[in-house]
Symmetry: C2
Subunit: 204 residues, 2 copies
């Protein structure tokens, strides 16, 4: 159990209070479970702190995160109805992003990922939200669909006090270099190793 | 991104469907962030699946998990009002457990942890909930306040389809041996290393 004591105090001229309020860039990477689930767990705290939340799901699957999405939509409605917590906005690449109207079903994943990142940049620039989950965002970076130096530069320069959590395997070294908090989720044991398939309530 | 294909199919006489519905014991351990936050992220899925949730917080702190607790209490109220999601029960050792009436403020932590575990056993025996978060439960085991063989035996023998997630550093080898899913959260970088203290919305 952490004691809340910093291991060293930096010579940056900031008070503890100023340093405490710095915006956080967190990266959850590694091959184990819990990268995204921990990001959504952090978002629960953000909700309670009253910080507007945006989730950008950079993943193509009908089934993924449906549990988290339903729960956060319910929390967003609690905010709208009772004024407690925070508003929640949920964007899914799998449906072609909610802000884009599009014909047909054939889509280019690389272009969609780039559109998603372009929207994140616009939102960061105007400080639209306070807490961002960029779920599975390491993959479009890894695949070269989004330029890592653009990502790192944008995040380093982001205005105000906007917290960002990025999840996914194989986080780029540049991203890890820019992050304040990096956790590597290591797989020790997984039910799929023992021949089980995923089940509702556990995997989605 | 996992493809949902088991790496091997066990010769256990079960169909994929039966195997899929097996109850899961998950352990989140390691020195990094995200052990408890990932457990609460899993609980969001359980909520959406309609599984009654119980959280047992084996930790003595006013401040810890207040964000998660507020969000899950709100989700529990959504269930009670609208019949969607699942009911949520939240027990805190820090307040002497909600089911125990007690005089005075002097309490014995070891006895309290044992009382918490005794309640978990009673609830498992009657299948009171479907999804249990035993938050920071590795510590009372490590400190000998709760007997690890009792824990492992109880969990192995638990009836029905009850999922249990245990969090905390230094999970006992016996516990890891009994678990279906173990994730080691490794610390790569933490803001406290750079002299920052915790802040609301991020740490609690």
């Amino acid at each position: 159990m952490p004691q809340g004591k910093p291991e060293q105090v930096p010579d940056d001229g900031l008070t503890t209070r100023q340093r405490r309020r710095q915006p956080v860039l967190a990266v959850h990477t590694g091959t184990g479970k819990g990268k995204s689930t921990a990001a959504f767990g952090m978002a629960l705290r953000a909700w309670n702190a009253g910080w507007p939340i945006a989730v950008f799901q950079f993943v193509k699957s009908e089934k993924w995160r449906v549990g988290e999405e339903a729960a956060f939509r319910a929390l967003g409605e609690v905010h709208d109805a009772k004024g407690i917590g925070a508003p929640v906005t949920w964007h899914k690449m799998g449906e072609g992003w909610s802000w884009i109207q599009r014909e047909g079903t054939e889509r280019d994943h690389a272009a969609e990922a780039a559109e998603g990142w372009a929207q994140v940049k616009r939102d960061l620039a105007v400080e639209r939200y306070r807490f961002y989950v960029l779920d599975e965002f390491t993959y479009p970076i890894k695949w070269g669909w989004v330029d890592v130096s653009d990502v790192v530069g944008t995040l380093r320069e982001r205005p105000g006090n906007q917290h960002v959590v990025i999840t996914g395997r194989d986080a780029a070294p540049e991203l890890i270099g820019a992050a304040d908090l990096v956790t590597e989720m290591g797989k020790v044991k997984h039910p799929m190793d023992a021949g089980r398939k995923g089940q509702q309530g556990i995997e989605w």
